[in-house]
Symmetry: C2
Subunit: 109 residues, 2 copies
Amino acid sequence: MTETFKERIVLRFSKNFLDILALRLIQAEPMWGYKIIKKTEILFGIKLRHGAIYPLLNSLEANGFLRSRQEVHGRRKRKVYEITSRGIQFVSAYYDFLREQLQMLDIKG
Amino acid sequence: MTETFKERIVLRFSKNFLDILALRLIQAEPMWGYKIIKKTEILFGIKLRHGAIYPLLNSLEANGFLRSRQEVHGRRKRKVYEITSRGIQFVSAYYDFLREQLQMLDIKG
DNA sequence: TACAATATGTCTCTATTCGGACATATCAAG
DNA sequence: CTTGATATGTCCGAATAGAGACATATTGTA
């Protein structure tokens, strides 16, 4: 029962904060869309739609949160993203928010 | 700049986790809809629509996260909500999630 | 007495999101 | 030689969410 609640929250997070999820993974290690999908499935048990992640990554790059380079393996190419300082600032703001939320375990009055 | 990021995240949270925001406030102290709106404005600088909060509170009660009683002051009445054990479990799951997120500051591999 | 605040509710039109299909290419394994 | 995995992209109809109006009642203040 409580486990279901947790799952619900994780699911909501991955929907509403998908950009932060992607940025965090890329911050830990430069990554490409396909790997993000696989990693999220392993780490959180959530299957992201590729139809959601690829446009997201492009918009995150357009907004200066990520930068990409083509990585070529033989004839195959992947678009490897790394986080920018702007992206790091955004993720930091998210962590600051989490810390504040936890500190506010006792709102009174 | 970083401040704007923080504001963005707070705003997104209040939209996507409005139920948890309400549950947390009610858990701290039994409360009614109107007070939640005022409190959120003071605490977070966010103006909630009453057209959003009242249906939400009713559905949270219908789902067993809250229970309400009529409080009458003269001829005026307010619907005071208190959190149920189920509601507490849900909020706990949220906090567990926050803690896990912070612990996962370094995802590797 | 009129306006602002307290207090709770519904409803509709619009805006956004989302699932899933369509599209294409390489490569490994059976 | 075909199926499944890797890899990235677009697009549209359906479903959901959101802003703001409509509705009503009490009370305090200017």
